[in-house]
């Protein structure tokens, strides 16, 4: 490659830029710069003629890269990229400078605006020298989805995907399908048996050849990225061969060992060999290895008429390839023992709402009778306590959304089984949203439940009568209420499933607010923090079944779009210069998306499909050997070097600002829309994320004589790349401490959080900062 031949194009924007800035002079100056092959001025570069002009120059071979001095890159960068592509040149050989939104429109004084425009042009030209032709990266993809969890969400997502023609592997860790919904007696709002809905979906799943369904299976480990994950599945032995077992049941009566059935939350027992309740899949007996007496016993084997029992079966491991993953691992009930004052598991008649579902179910521990667990007597007075553990800083800080409606539903159960019983509900706020409001009305008017606004301080048992005594202040009437009940149901909320929490930690899926944290709740609710992994149902957040089905459809859609034949990604990826890498692993530690692993030669290497191209690794690398393509340290350094800190004259303070392109840059652009102006002392460089900025560049800027430096990113919890903004802030703080020791004013380096609408805040900060820098006097390195 010879010397770069840059074509510089200056756009008047129909007078919008040219009326404030003398573009003839600017073009004449730029034309003389080293590396500039030609420089043209045009009234409207984004017009057809303007674009044609650029295309012709590119085709003529006179220029091999383009610098456009025009409007904000947020307006027309894509337009100009397209013209490069059309001319058969990599679109990454384009550099744009924002002479309109961040210059002509916001600086009133024409002379100063010109000086700033000239410096911006100079910086862009400097960067253009380091541009590289880049082409999109292509990867082959596996068109198959792994769905983890066979609850209502996992089942629906699998079916949606299979019906869209995608292969699905569905794994469920239990021996039965349907998840928690299978354990319910009835479903609100229609109060139909949930089995009906689950069965309907299961029929369709079983007859769909695209779905491979395995139970007693878990994800052991996971590697790779979207398009080509490798997942190791571990299938636990069932010790009964499902293809032989006819579920005749001859074995169980002979089995001498018992087990507590966790389907009934330990309220009932089965033999060690048992047919799972709910929707067993396959329809066959299984053996609980923790309780089975083993080979020595073998009574079941002798009883089995079809030789289906294999007590030596061992776990099976296999590795599959999938393109994306849906996590639908659901929820566990909150452990009510943690709220000690309610006597859960201390008094047998205090149960949680899931146990109550089992209690009234025909397949449950009492065969569908509502009786006290302590003495088998019918229930005459029943109390519900809402929000147990929920909305409580010490336990679950959130609301699980369903528990109020669940109680309203369970009030109906009480009326069905004990029409005469008295019903009390202790609550803080009843949250029955949407059409569930009707259930609230019915519970009061039809079922005559008494709602008391206040949570009992504790539940105690009367030693003589075994009545449970609850006392609370009814905050509506201000009176103390004391009642006796023979059963107390604790409305406990949902917590994320514990086992998956551990896998989550291993594969980098952090938990938040009772579910897998999404990458960004408002903008990407289905995305987890790992590309290609999506959450469905209650592993996304607490929700009812109908929402879980909707959420499954959303996750399926997301999984589907990430399953093309071929994955094409932008080439703006991090590339490591191994010869200078120290293997300090900071890149691995700081990447918010766990994208780094080791290559065969023992160097860090990013999984490009997992990478979100934030550049945080580049920002953190102490050796500065990671280059986020098209936003490299070198490219930015060339702009910093081209920045002349005296461009407004020796006396005038100048500020170099590094603006995150997500929020800060648009916020600064927006100043003109609001008719605001600010001093021309500030010159901005855009970066993909504040975290992508290596502090060496701030050091360069200081050493180069910039009087002030701003690094602007999103507020901590709004960072598009999770940690970028926090890391940038810490890195700058470290630097500020060093500056202090160097007897340089730490205030010269400023960290700023800007959200996209924070334009006024930005303008205020700039005015104050310029004034402050005037007070401080020039940077000692200036001149």
């Amino acid at each position: 490659m010879g010397q770069p031949r840059t074509g510089v194009y200056v756009c008047g924007c129909q007078g919008e830029i040219s009326k404030r800035i003398d573009l003839h002079q600017l073009a004449a100056t730029m034309a003389k710069k080293k590396g500039v092959a030609l420089c043209r001025e045009h009234e409207s570069l984004c017009s057809l003629q303007g674009l044609q002009l650029i295309e012709d120059d590119l085709r003529s071979g006179e220029i091999d890269r383009v610098v456009i001095l025009a409007c904000s890159p947020r307006r027309h960068e894509e337009t100009f990229k397209a013209i490069l592509r059309k001319a058969g040149i990599s679109e990454y050989l384009l550099e744009t400078s924002n002479l309109r939104e961040q210059c002509a429109w916001v600086h009133e004084e024409a002379k100063q605006a010109y000086k700033k425009a000239a410096i911006l042009a100079q910086m862009s030209l400097a960067r253009s020298r380091w541009l590289e032709p880049l082409e999109p990266l292509r990867f082959t993809a596996t068109r198959r989805v792994l769905v983890v969890g066979g609850g209502i969400a996992g089942l629906s997502a699998s079916l949606d995907l299979a019906e869209a023609g995608v292969e699905v592997v569905l794994v469920e860790r239990e021996a039965f399908l349907g998840g928690r919904a299978a354990q319910l007696y009835r479903y609100f709002p229609r109060l139909c048996p949930p089995g009906c809905g689950i069965d309907y979906i299961l029929q369709k799943i079983r007859s769909n050849s695209k779905i491979e369904l395995t139970t007693l299976t878990e994800v052991k480990s996971l590697s790779g990225g979207p398009g080509n994950f490798e997942v190791t599945l571990l299938q636990k032995p069932r010790y009964v061969m499902p293809d032989r077992c006819t579920a005749c049941g001859n074995c169980a009566p002979l089995c001498p060992a018992d087990r507590k059935d966790h389907f009934d939350f330990g309220l009932s027992q089965t033999k060690a060999i048992y047919l799972p309740k709910g929707f067993p899949h396959p329809q066959s007996y299984v053996i609980d290895p923790d309780r089975c007496l083993g080979q020595e016993c073998s009574l079941c084997r002798q009883a089995c008429p079809v030789q289906a029992i294999d007590l030596e079966e061992s776990p099976r491991e296999r590795t599959i390839k999938v393109g994306s993953i849906i996590v639908a691992t659901g929820w566990d009930p909150f452990d009510a023992r943690l709220v000690e004052q309610f006597g859960y598991q201390q008094y047998p008649d205090v149960i949680n709402n899931m146990e109550f579902e089992r209690l009234v179910s025909p397949s449950g521990p009492t065969g569908g009778k509502l009786v006290r667990l302590s003495n088998g007597q019918p229930v005459k007075r029943i109390a519900f306590i809402q929000c147990v553990g929920s909305r409580d800083k010490n336990h679950l800080p959130y609301c699980s959304k369903v528990c109020c409606t669940v109680t309203l539903k369970q009030i109906k159960y009480v009326r069905e089984f004990a029409p005469e019983a008295q019903i009390f509900v202790f609550y803080m706020d009843m949250r029955a949203t949407g059409e569930y409001e009707e259930m609230y009305r019915l519970a009061q008017e039809e079922s005559q439940a008494l709602f008391i606004r206040g949570i009992p301080s504790r539940v105690i048992e009367d030693i003589n009568s075994h009545d449970l005594i609850l006392q609370a202040e009814d905050t509506l009437s201000g009176q103390m209420v004391k009642i006796g009940a023979d059963m107390v149901v604790l409305a406990t909320g949902m917590t994320p499933n514990q086992e998956f929490r551990q896998l989550g930690e291993r594969v980098g899926l952090p938990l938040e607010m009772g579910a897998f944290a999404s990458g960004h709740l408002q903008c990407f609710p289905f995305e987890s923090r790992r590309a290609g992994i999506y959450a469905a149902g209650t592993s996304q957040e607490p929700m009812d079944a109908s929402s879980a089905i909707k959420s499954a459809a959303g996750a399926a859609m997301k999984a589907l779009v990430s399953l093309p034949e071929e994955i094409v990604i932008r080439p703006t990826v991090p590339v490591l210069d191994k010869t200078k890498c120290d293997k300090c692993k900071r890149c691995m530690e700081e990447c918010p998306f766990g994208a780094w692993g080791w290559d065969d030669a023992g160097y860090p290497s990013p999984n490009l499909l997992q990478c979100r191209q934030c550049g945080i690794c580049q920002g953190g690398c102490p050796m500065k050997v990671i280059a986020l393509k098209h936003s490299t340290v070198k490219q930015t350094a060339s702009m910093v070097e081209a920045f002349d800190p005296s461009f407004l004259g020796e006396r005038e303070p100048t500020i170099l600002a590094f603006l995150c392109y997500n929020d800060a840059y648009p916020a600064v652009d927006a100043a003109c829309e609001k008719g605001l102006t600010y001093p021309a002392n500030l010159v901005a460089i855009r970066v993909p994320c504040a975290g992508s900025l290596n502090v060496a560049l701030v050091a360069d800027a200081l050493a180069g004589g910039a009087d002030g430096i701003i690094v602007a990113g999103c507020a901590s919890d709004q960072c598009h790349f999770v940690r970028g903004s926090d890391l940038a802030k810490t890195r700058l703080q470290n630097m500020q401490e060093t500056l202090q020791r160097m007897m340089l004013e730490a205030q010269r380096v400023k960290w700023l959080t800007l959200n996209i609408t924070d334009t006024e805040g930005f303008v205020r900060t700039i005015n104050d900062f310029v004034a402050e820098l005037r007070r401080l006097g020039p940077n000692p390195f200036k001149g």
Partner: protein
């Protein structure tokens, strides 16, 4: 005078094994305290004041005082690492500040 570690700033290089200061030190003097995960100099007498660790520390957590041959306590020399230059600040015993910029890499 051997390097002093600012324990607030040192993050143990976040890694499990050798932090950068340990890797770079020609005398193999820097290492991590396994409990606090912070760096320290294991044999202060042997330090040559070469400042390699000070320059490489990504957190700017290290500082050396000048050796007495060059300047009496508390004179100090502090580098600020740029992409292709180091900006040195020298503060002598009287608090006089001198600064100089040195290019490190030619591209």
């Amino acid at each position: 005078m051997p390097p002093r570690v600012n324990k607030e700033k040192c993050d143990g290089c976040k890694a499990e094994h050798e932090p950068l200061c340990e890797q770079i030190c020609p005398g193999d003097l820097m290492t991590l305290n396994p409990e606090t995960r912070k760096a320290y100099c294991r044999s202060t007498r042997d330090c040559w004041d070469c400042m390699s660790c000070v320059k490489i520390c990504p957190q700017g957590a290290l500082e050396t005082k000048l050796p007495y041959q060059l300047g009496y306590y508390p004179a100090k020399l502090i580098p600020l690492m740029g992409t292709n230059k180091i900006t040195w600040t020298c503060i002598d015993i009287n608090g006089k500040v001198e600064r100089f910029v040195i290019k490190t890499r030619n591209d």
